[in-house]
């Protein structure tokens, strides 16, 4: 509502034309960040004042207050225009987000004004969540301070794409272009580390009004727009997501039996009558019948319109469901990764349950793994604080977390959609909003969770030790413990050699036992599949069991394909180099396959199934086998009998002093 003389004329002579113009205005929401010292309040006061948005009576009130609280002597303290609550006024600082409004002939502006002092992350995140643009104030004398980086990081974290760096107090550096260029370069270098795509710089003096509303006469070297002109012209229309249709159902309206409408605000994409849609989490499909509004039906609708949809089929839909298109769906899962800003005095504690509200979904979720804390001052990952023995986040801290929900939640990465990717964290007891989260484009890995958590717990545990020592066991059994690790392709002869060796050692009076890969797979590891990760886990369990048997003083004979060198190395680590005897049973794939075919002449052997693709990831056929580089023994089973193989292994064990000759 900048009422300059030209507008006055316009309003006086053609009010209908003026109103018509204002009906067409668009909306820009921005946040201002900086400390009181940067002149932020003064800039806002100046924007409102110079665009004649402070009414005379308000100005009189501010002038009166200036003499009581003001910090600029006899001048009217424009900073007081944006000031609000009495308690804050008495402290001389603002402590919350205040919203200010002004408009020009082309745009309405909503300013989220947030304070710049230390305890501010929560407030800035709040203000930034709805902002299209951030104005970051820098005092030209001081240049880029830690808080400048903090502000920029939070703006980036909350997904703000446009940043205006307002280099203020240029009057105090003699309107110097060099100083401006210096700051501009330093900021540009820093901003490459953020996800802000659009950065602009304006040199100004909020106190004197240079480059705020009107172009400065003191800085002829600056040829860009004033702050107001920039805010009026910056292009933000394409920031919204018009691709991925997302309609979180808010409310179901059923005024009579023949009408069942789903009410909500379109959070992404465009929807048209007739479009095929899918309802999540049920997965049921239907088509859009009508797009109903009070002002008549629409043919299509887009964000952020609030509409009522009806479908061609009667399906059960309730609040919290999301209507999407079948070929473009969000993830529907029970775990996700997110960056979280903590907003409450009571710290977040890993392992605690919270309520999450994302769009219209409300779910219980465990903050199951706090991966790290992000220091907003240094922009480094750091160790989180300890909260009663578990990691946690304090007020105004930012951290990366995995949440595990009690039922599946539909979500997108925050960078893709703020509505389906953002959530608030609510304390279940006090009902207070304690945090806000932005979902990352990373798949949550629950197994990683358990391992990291275990590692952390294990670090706290002291292994218990008894009085029976390894030496005492060796003396009683008459031999040392060891693990003979037989590796090789399927049908290389591992099980055959293992059981023959077991018999031979048993006859020698050795306490021994065979650990067979297949047997373990049928029992201890029956929960695991055959992906690389799951094979590794199966190997880890097998080596732990071998180690336990060794601990009991026995000679373990482990028969595992163990095709990956890394897994065999891990086993060696677990069992101990001195007890680990790696024996490679070497046979070519062709020979092994022929042996398999001989055993299963009907063609239902493992190799045959793998060749037909019925068994996936089969070692030697569709998954690699990494030959050991320096095993303790290599036995070619194509040219060696079972007995000869067993004797070779026994000879090695005697040589190593495991068993007697």
């Amino acid at each position: 509502m900048e009422i300059n003389e030209r507008d006055r004329e316009f309003i006086s002579t053609d009010i209908l034309g003026y109103l018509k113009q204002h009906e067409e205005k668009d909306l820009l929401r921005f946040i201002t960040c900086g400390s009181v010292d940067d002149g932020k309040s003064t800039l806002i006061g100046r924007l409102l004042f110079d665009s004649k948005l402070i009414y005379e009576d308000q100005l009189a009130a501010v002038q009166a207050a200036s003499t009581r609280h003001g910090t600029v002597g006899d001048q009217t303290d424009l900073a007081l225009v944006t000031d609000g609550l009495r308690a804050e006024r008495e402290q001389g600082i603002t402590i919350d987000v205040a919203y200010r409004f002004f408009s020009t002939n082309s745009r309405k502006f909503i300013i989220a004004d947030t304070p710049g002092h230390e305890q501010y992350t929560r407030n800035m995140a709040t203000g930034a969540s709805t902002a299209d643009l951030a104005v970051i104030l820098i005092d030209a004398r001081h240049g880029i301070l830690p808080q400048t980086k903090r502000h920029s990081f939070i703006a980036s974290l909350l997904g703000i794409k446009h940043v205006l760096v307002a280099i203020n107090k240029m009057d105090l550096v003699d309107w110097g272009e060099e100083r401006y260029e210096e700051i501009r370069k330093e900021y540009t270098d820093f901003a490459t580390r953020l996800e802000v795509t659009d950065v602009h710089f304006i040199p100004l003096s909020a106190l004197l009004g240079d480059n705020v509303v009107h172009r400065s006469e003191n800085m002829p070297w600056y040829e860009g727009p004033s702050v107001l002109h920039f805010l009026e012209s910056v292009h933000i229309a394409s920031d919204r997501n018009f691709i991925d249709f997302r309609f979180p159902v808010q409310h179901v309206v059923r005024p009579h039996l023949n009408f069942r409408g789903y009410q909500g605000t379109i959070a992404g994409g465009v929807v048209k009558i007739g479009d095929e849609v899918m309802v999540l989490p049920s997965g049921k499909r239907s088509n859009i019948e009508r797009i109903v509004t009070f002002d008549g039906d629409l043919t299509h609708a887009f964000p952020p319109q609030a509409v009522t949809l009806t479908l061609t089929d009667e399906i059960d839909i309730s609040r919290g469901d999301i209507i999407v298109k079948p070929n473009n769906t969000p993830r529907v899962e029970k775990a996700f990764e997110a960056m979280v800003v903590w907003m409450h005095d009571t710290p977040l504690r890993e392992g605690r349950d919270y309520l999450l509200k994302s769009g219209t979904q409300l779910v219980t979720a465990e903050a199951s793994l706090l991966r790290y804390r992000f220091d907003v001052n240094t922009l480094h990952k750091t160790e989180p604080i300890d909260v009663d023995g578990r990691p946690g986040l304090q007020l105004n801290e930012v951290g990366r977390l995995m949440f595990e929900t009690t039922r599946p939640m539909a979500f997108d990465p925050y960078a893709r959609n703020k509505t389906t990717g953002g959530f608030i964290v609510i304390d279940k007891l006090s009902n207070v909003t304690v945090g806000a989260g932005m979902i990352l484009d990373r798949k949550a890995d629950a197994s990683q969770r358990s391992r990291e958590e275990q590692a952390r717990r294990l670090a706290l545990l002291q292994a218990s030790t008894g009085k029976v020592t390894a030496e005492m066991r060796a003396e009683r059994f008459g031999h040392q413990p060891a693990t003979v690790w037989l590796t090789g392709l399927p049908r290389a002869g591992k099980s055959t050699v293992a059981h023959a060796l077991e018999q031979r050692l048993w006859d020698k009076g050795v306490a021994t036992h065979v650990l067979d890969g297949v047997n373990l797979r049928l029992a201890l590891s029956k929960d695991l599949g055959f992906t690389a990760d799951e094979r590794s886990e199966a190997g880890r369990r097998a080596s732990e069991v071998a180690r336990l048997f060794n601990g009991a003083g026995m000679v373990t004979i482990a028969a595992f394909a163990s095709p990956y060198a890394a897994d065999r190395d891990a086993a060696r680590q677990t069992i101990g180099d001195d007890r680990f005897v790696e024996v490679f049973l070497d046979a070519s794939v062709e020979v092994c396959e022929a042996r398999d075919a001989e055993l299963f002449p009907e063609g239902d052997g493992l190799y045959a199934k793998a060749r037909r693709g019925e068994v996936k990831s089969f070692t030697g056929v569709s998954a690699p086998y990494e030959r050991p580089e320096s095993p303790a023994l290599t036995i070619n089973t194509e040219a060696t009998s079972v007995d000869a193989a067993v004797e070779t292994i026994v000879a090695l064990l005697v040589e190593r002093g495991v068993v007697g000759g």
Binding site: S238, H251, Q263, I426
Partner: protein
Amino acid sequence: MQRYSLSHLKQLEAEAIHILREVVAEFENPVMLYSIGKDSSVMVHLARKAFHPGPLPFKLLHIDTTYKFHEMISFRDRFCEENGFELLVHTNQDAVREGISPFVHGSNVYTNAMKTVGLKQALRAGKYDAAFGGARRDEEKSRAKERVYSFRDGHMQWDPKNQRPELWDVYNGRINRDRKESIRVFPISNWTELDVWLYIHLEKIEIVPLYLAGMRPCVERHGTLIYVNDDRFPLEEGEEPEMRMVRFRTLGCYPLTGAVESSASTLPEIIQEMLLTTTSERQGRVIDFDQDGSMEQKKRDGYF
């Protein structure tokens, strides 16, 4: 992308509809405060849009101080009757019995008894867990920081230090009903006075004719023009109401609401006058003049 853009008013409308639906979906017993003023007219209009083709899923509640302009009362009754809205009217009968009047007890005591206490009585009696109000952040300094969901404790009090952060359009509607907690909700928080007028103009929303200029009997007190609306107005020695061409920028209790001299008799003329004038909207309300920060004090006490 031009065809996928919304004007600022359409965006504000969508935001308000979203808030109205969210509250109705999450609360058990909401009510809409209806003050008969232009902001209330806009609120009711938005509510109709939000729940179309269904009826309003809540009642309208008017706190009648007994000193409202009679034009407001007749507008209210006809408006609700014609549109089939369920209207509740509450008056603090204790205060009526005690004879509390703006003329005898002053604006502070009277406003507290009739508005603040009256409102609390009505909300408590109705056991409402959410109450919609038409307050806007641009109206007054302390309101600039008010949340859309304003959390109230069991005594309906507002604690400026204990309000919940609000991010995106995700509102935390969790309350403890055993502790009689509730919220006040302000769906048009982000509208300015100009937005409200533009919207009324655009949507052809009905408003009380007092907003338009007309010849009305007035007396001038301490520089404020008061419309002598009935014979309860105690005229001072030698005081004689005279017919003046006036209108109201805000409506409330007639003894506490200043008129402005104006010839603006159509909506565009009102907006024109508003744009060219240099005093802000609330100045017509006597209530704000008491002391710096007085609205904040009233809010802490439970005033809307």
